[in-house]
């Protein structure tokens, strides 16, 4: 149980810079999910916290202690790997006991701890088995058990659910979350799956090209994405990002595709008329109606209670809509949105554009 602090962590592999200075504060007992596309540096960041990689610059603190130059074994962290990395020649019991044995714990204490942890995870029937005799879900549990039994200051999860089938993944996801809450151990969880990220994290770190694009709670990220990358990454289907220009007075923007003028609900944006913007509209915030966008629907995906429509505007801009009900057909459809569903981004920098401070 400890805080984790990262200060200006950078990492380069030779000439290739992977992390460009990441700062992060993880509170005691908090579950932070690091999410991003592959190659964004999220695994590297986790490995730096674990001590498996050395940061090129910056510092790592676990529980106020500077561990930047400390070996993995002495950081008091436990890690769950993507392919579980169980020792194939050891029984489940030995797998869980190995770390404790190396630390010189008395064998009766080890026995007790392993039994407790196994009972907690429901794997106490499997202790004599070898990893290859276990199913994927059971291996996953053993890997968790090996981490939990150590009672570390920090749990590190490196995409631990990605080798499981969809159903088991949902189940293990909930289980990990429950366990983490119950044990109250500070945790870092790396994933590329936005659903995992949204459901597991107290807060998310959305990584993009070696930087933390946004660090916030899942709902903050969903409601107020910090830039167009985050806006497009979180949410399914992805947020529609439409080029637009600011209109005089800054209270509305005109879509370049159709010339439609959309007013801002919360106030004017700074800048001269004609400032180039990107407007974001989530597919679920579109609804059928007259006087809005005219979309040509080319694919309908019925999901039961709702339908996802893939469409394009007159100039070819792709747009997706997630509408209530079913029974939509291909062809022309009018779509409207509400002003408070608009996300405004500066087009050049991609950053979210807040309303100008009241004068």
């Amino acid at each position: 149980m400890a805080r984790l602090q990262l200060r200006g962590v950078r990492k380069s592999f030779g000439p290739v810079a992977v992390l460009h200075g990441v700062d992060l504060d993880v509170e005691d007992g908090e579950m932070i999910v690091i999410v991003g596309a592959s190659g964004c540096g999220k695994s590297t960041l986790l490995r730096i916290v674990a001590g498996l990689e050395t940061a090129t610059a910056g510092r790592v603190y676990i529980g106020e202690r500077d561990v930047t130059a400390v070996e993995p074994a002495k950081r008091d962290v436990a890690m769950v790997f993507q392919n579980y990395a169980l020792y194939p020649h050891m029984s489940v019991y030995e797998n869980m006991a190995y770390g404790l044995r190396i630390r010189g714990m008395a064998s009766n204490l080890i026995e007790q701890r392993v039994q407790e942890t196994a009972a907690l995870l429901g794997i106490d029937q499997l202790l004599r088995r070898r990893p290859r005799e276990l199913s994927g879900g059971q291996r996953q549990r053993v890997a968790m058990g090996r981490a939990i039994v150590r009672e570390p200051k920090l749990f590190l999860f490196d995409e631990p659910l990605s080798n499981l089938d969809a159903k088991l993944r949902v189940q293990m996801r909930a289980e990990i979350r429950r366990l983490q809450r119950r044990l109250g151990v500070t945790s870092l969880f790396v994933t590329h799956d936005q659903v995992e990220a949204m459901t597991l994290g107290d807060r998310l770190v959305v990584m993009n090209a070696g930087t933390a694009a946004q660090i916030a709670t899942p709902m903050q990220i969903w409601e107020r994405p910090a830039d167009t990358y985050v806006a497009g990454f979180i949410g399914s289907p992805a947020m529609n990002l439409l080029p637009a220009v600011l209109e005089a007075g800054g209270r509305s923007a005109r879509l370049e595709a159709t010339g439609l003028s959309l007013p801002f609900a919360d106030g004017p944006r700074p800048g001269p008329a004609g400032r180039t913007l990107t407007l974001g509209i989530r597919p679920e915030h579109l609804s059928p109606g007259p006087g809005g966008l005219t979309a040509i629907v080319d694919l309908v995906e019925p999901l039961g209670s709702e339908s996802v429509l893939h469409a394009h505007l007159a100039d070819g801009t792709q747009i997706a809509a997630r509408l209530q009900g079913s029974g939509y057909s291909e062809g022309t459809l009018g779509l409207i949105t509400t002003p408070d569903a608009l996300h405004v981004f500066d087009r050049a920098s991609g950053l979210r554009l807040e309303r100008s401070a009241p004068a």
Binding site: G51, P72, A73, M79, H89, Y98, G99, R132
Partner: protein, 304 residues
């Protein structure tokens, strides 16, 4: 008729093609018989010499001396084996088989163990650690594959002789220990151990030696067993090097012994030669049979 490898030329007695890989629905009755005959022929080809040796070792020297090749057991088995084991060749100052077997066993075992130990340690270093000159060392080891004992035999002999190791076990064994083949095999195996396993061990707190002992060695056990068999047979069958480096009967190996026993044609005691040969066969056969299960496992599957 010149040899021709068109399948049409391979006919069974009834004139139909006799290749066993015919598609299942069309399989004439003669095929099974013919394939079994071919297999039997193979077995006979392999087994007959051994059978002749085995039978020859049970007759007296006169029988074989007359040029007979007995195919049935004779009455002198015990006598022949006891003589060979205890005294060796009766006609000259020969070395008893027991001594030679002991020498061969010491040599083969120490070569095997030495090769295994050295190669697994060096493969561990090359596969798991990055240090300056790692690839240089790797290639140095790799290149020695091109220099088997036979190629470097004179310089090696010079070195061994300068060190005063002629006619000693050290001289017999040490030059044969370095093994690029085993090192490379272990390295290849080590490279298949997933990085995440290494990292899991690091986080669990296992240092390099501990990881070697607790993870690498147990995972390599089948490979070690397979190499043990191969290297033991290799060590046991060494001929050229022992021939050069041993002149004293104290360190004579069984393979050299057999060759020496044959000596001049006239007074060769073939019954004893054959008894000796049979005994020389036993240790490698025993090793192969005892370790067969692991041996096959080590060559065909990896436990991961």
């Amino acid at each position: 008729m010149p040899p021709d490898f068109k399948s049409a030329d391979f006919k069974a007695a009834d004139g139909r093609p006799a290749i066993a890989v015919l598609p299942e629905p069309w399989r004439p009755a003669g095929v099974d018989i013919v394939t079994h005959l071919i297999l039997l022929l193979g077995v006979v080809l392999f087994a007959l010499p051994i059978w002749i040796v085995l039978m020859g070792s049970t007759h007296d020297s006169a029988t074989i001396g007359r040029g007979e090749v007995p195919l049935l057991p004779g009455a002198h088995a015990l006598e022949n084996y006891a003589t060979a084991w205890g005294k060796g060749n009766t006609q000259r100052a020969a070395v008893p088989v027991s001594t030679m077997m002991f020498n061969s066993a010491v040599m083969a075992l120490l070569i095997t163990v030495g090769k295994l130990v050295i190669s697994i340690i060096s493969a561990y270093a090359v596969a798991f650690f990055s240090f300056p000159g790692r690839m240089l060392f790797f290639w140095a080891i790799f290149i020695t594959l091109m220099l088997p004992v036979e190629v470097r035999i004179f310089p090696t002999f010079q070195v061994v002789s300068d060190l005063g190791m002629v006619n000693t076990y050290q001289g017999l064994i040490i030059p044969l220990i370095a093994s690029a083949t085993a090192t490379l095999l272990f390295r290849q195996f080590f490279l298949t151990i997933p990085d995440q396993l290494v990292e899991a061990a690091k986080i669990d707190g296992a240092g390099p030696l501990r990881f070697f002992k607790d993870v690498v060695l147990p995972l390599s056990s089948t490979n070690i067993a397979a190499l043990f068999v191969i290297l033991f047979v290799y060590g046991w069958n060494q001929y050229l090097w022992p021939l050069l480096v041993t002149t004293s009967s104290d360190v004579e190996t069984i393979i050299i012994g057999i060759v020496k026993m044959i000596g001049a044609e006239a007074d060769t005691q073939w019954n004893l030669v054959m008894a000796t040969t049979v005994m020389a066969l036993l240790p490698p056969v025993a090793v192969v049979i005892l370790m067969q299960r692991w041996f096959v496992k080590g060559l065909t599957e990896t436990e991961k």
